[in-house]
């Protein structure tokens, strides 16, 4: 087995993880706000507030040249891989300067130059596509990794198991990354899955599996770094399930009546952003002042991004017909 990379996090990385989570949260909150201000093109967006650690940790563990796909709740993951918030807002607002020229929307956001093969609105459909990414990385000998990000809702889709089998059969550089927020839309995980030992499911398919506390960004970053570098080095596919929680509803209008309010409160006490802030203060890597400065910088960054995006042009009617075919 080839050696995997040392997973220890530098002080700078630890602070960057907090910063990224704060950026994700500020971004997501402004999407919700922008909807109320009438800026968004519809309300089909799915916010990842509460899951920031699963995105920031994975983002740190990926490298330039890696490719990935996400599910429909993928804003945070995209930001963690260097997406420009202005262009993301522009896409959610349906403007031509958006990542998908205003034609994809929140659920189909993509940028192949950043390795993002696309967010998918069909639960689990991104998984075989990432299988193709892994196949491609191996075929083209890029030495890079393919990561499929999806939620617990996809854990019972057949294509996950088909893909795990092929990934293991061909020893592909591919990680199946589960953001487990305990609910597939409105259905709690134990009401959807006969067996809750998902690592065991993966291992039974020949895929190396691991579980991590998705509210602890440093645990996520270390677990991701270890598994990603192991898989990227050609040792075979990996499966990482990060247990987290969605602080908002499934979509815009969902007050989550199917969730126990006491359960929500318990998870909110484990807010990943607050937890990391506290940890960094305790480690002397952050001061309250520096934190306030960061918050102000990020707030400004996101306000500027929204303002910029709001000024961008909408596509003209002829754009309906473009990009259907190339030749």
């Amino acid at each position: 087995m080839k050696a995997s990379r040392d997973t220890a996090l530098s002080g700078e990385e630890r602070v960057s993880l907090l910063r990224m989570m704060m950026r994700i949260r500020e971004f997501e909150d402004r999407v919700a706000e922008s909807y109320l201000r009438g800026l968004t093109a519809g309300s089909m967006f799915h916010l990842s507030v509460g899951e920031e650690a699963t995105a920031a940790g994975a983002g740190l563990a990926m490298e330039d040249g890696d490719c990935f796909t996400t599910h429909h709740r993928g804003h945070g993951i995209f930001l963690s891989r260097g997406a420009d918030p202005g262009r993301m807002f522009a896409e959610v607002f349906g403007r031509t300067e958006g990542y998908c020229a205003g034609k994809g929307g929140s659920m189909h956001i993509a940028d192949i130059t950043l390795g993002h093969m696309g967010a998918n609105a069909i639960v689990g459909a991104n998984i075989p596509i990432s299988l193709g990414g892994g196949f491609s990385m191996k075929y083209q000998k890029t030495g890079k990794l393919s990561v499929a990000f999806f939620g617990d809702g996809a854990l019972n889709q057949g294509v996950l198991y088909e893909s795990m089998n092929m990934a293991a059969l061909w020893k592909l550089p591919l990680v199946f990354y589960v953001v487990n927020n305990q609910y597939g839309m409105g259905t709690r995980i134990d009401l959807a899955s006969a067996s809750l030992d998902f690592v065991k499911r993966a291992e039974s398919f020949g895929v190396r599996g691991a579980k991590v506390d998705g509210m602890d960004v440093e645990a996520v970053a270390k677990a991701a770094r270890e598994l990603f570098s192991w898989s990227r080095a050609g040792n075979g596919p990996g499966f990482l399930i990060a247990d987290a929680y969605r602080f908002y509803g499934h979509g815009r209008k969902d007050p989550s009546p199917y969730r126990d309010k006491e359960e929500e409160a318990r998870w909110k006490e484990r807010d990943p952003v607050e937890a990391q802030k506290k940890r960094l203060l305790g480690a002397g890597l952050l001061t309250e002042q520096r934190y306030s400065e960061m918050k102000a910088e990020i707030s400004k960054e996101m306000d500027d991004a929204v303002a910029w995006a709001a000024k961008q042009a909408e596509p003209g009617p002829q754009e309906l017909y473009t990009h259907v075919y190339i030749d």
């Binding site: 998908c100 020229a101 034609k103 075989p128 299988l131 193709g132 196949f135 092929m166 259907v324 075919y325």
Partner: protein, 327 residues
């Protein structure tokens, strides 16, 4: 120029394209070691090896999805779906992914993938292995649909399809694999979207594609003996669709018959009939006649022949049309 079978012509195109471009590879069930369920890829495994002729488990959805992901990340996959009847197993990856990623990304990504499959009757293979499902694919904006009727076109259209940057569904016919015909040597490219006038005439226009072109030609030979000269048009591709050739013919003959092996109800013949009527109503002496498979599942064994169009039906329809004059 050489006389060869339809399946050999396909193989020749595959071999030439694989030699020309290392990014082209073939993947699917039994394509490598077995040589293809219909022997299309026979011998290619020995020539190109396991890396370029990839045998897969029976996992149609994820294999097609793998093709999408590989195409998104720079490769040019030729994915084989053993029977078009299996398309249901992979329909999400074909219609929601392969067909739509270019559009959803605002033109930022491309899916230069060919999905090769075969359909049609002729082997008494039963209802689940004998269908003509091209309409399902032709209905999907973003997909090209190619259906060669003869060996030379099989070679030329497959080469063009592989070189196209658009996703192509390439539908062969099981009853045509052993058909012999003259095939140009070396590089042979037939453009998509250019119908072929197989037989000229001014008495009636018969439009068809794939195996039914030969049934139409058989009918035309019989009609000639009765003094009715039929113009037989082979569409070659359903998307892009060359209606100009059809309209020019109908303006000359004033009578149109469309023949397909798909079912009558909502079959592609219905689309052709609608377009001809919209364009050429004033010059038609009678409604467009659809000759299609009966609206029943395809029976196995002896009844199969009764379920699909035959030359007599076309001859009868042409005679009726020949007897009609403008009111």
């Amino acid at each position: 120029m050489a006389q060869m079978m339809f399946r050999d012509a396909l193989r020749a195109a595959l071999a030439l394209e694989m030699k020309r471009d290392p990014k082209v590879f073939v993947i699917g069930e039994e394509v490598g070691r077995y040589g293809g369920a219909y022997a299309v890829t026979k011998g290619l495994y020995d020539e190109f090896g396991a890396e370029r002729l990839v045998d897969t488990p029976i996992s149609e959805a994820s294999v097609v999805g793998l093709g999408v992901g590989a195409a998104l990340t720079g490769l040019r996959p030729v994915v084989e779906l053993m029977y078009v009847d299996f398309v249901g197993l992979a329909m999400d990856q074909i219609s929601n992914q392969m067909a739509k990623w270019r559009y959803m990304s605002g033109g930022k990504v491309k899916v230069p993938m060919v999905l090769r499959t075969q359909g049609g009757t002729g082997r008494s293979a039963g209802a689940q292995h004998s269908q003509s499902l091209e309409t399902w694919l032709a209905h999907m904006p973003g997909l090209r649909v190619v259906m060669p009727s003869n060996p030379a076109d099989a070679k030329g259209l497959l080469a063009t399809s592989i070189r196209s940057d658009d996703p192509v569904v390439f539908i062969e016919h099981k009853a045509l694999y052993a058909m012999k015909g003259d095939v140009p040597d070396g590089e042979h490219l037939v453009p998509l979207g250019k119908a072929n006038v197989v037989r000229q005439g001014d008495g009636v226009t018969i439009v068809s594609y794939s195996r039914m072109v030969h049934v139409a030609a058989e009918a035309a030979a019989a009609l000639a003996k009765e003094g009715i000269e039929a113009e037989v048009i082979d569409l070659r591709t359903l998307n892009p669709l060359d209606m100009e050739t059809v309209f020019a013919s109908v303006r000359k003959t004033h009578r149109a018959i469309v023949v397909n092996e798909a079912h009558r109800t909502a079959g592609f013949c219905s689309e052709l009939a609608a377009r001809i009527t919209e364009e050429a109503f004033e010059v038609l002496v009678a409604p467009v006649v659809r000759i299609a498979a009966k609206d029943t599942p395809v029976p196995a064994t002896l009844l199969e022949k009764l379920s699909i169009p035959n030359a007599e039906e076309i001859v009868a329809a042409a005679r009726t049309l020949a007897g009609r004059r403008k009111a």
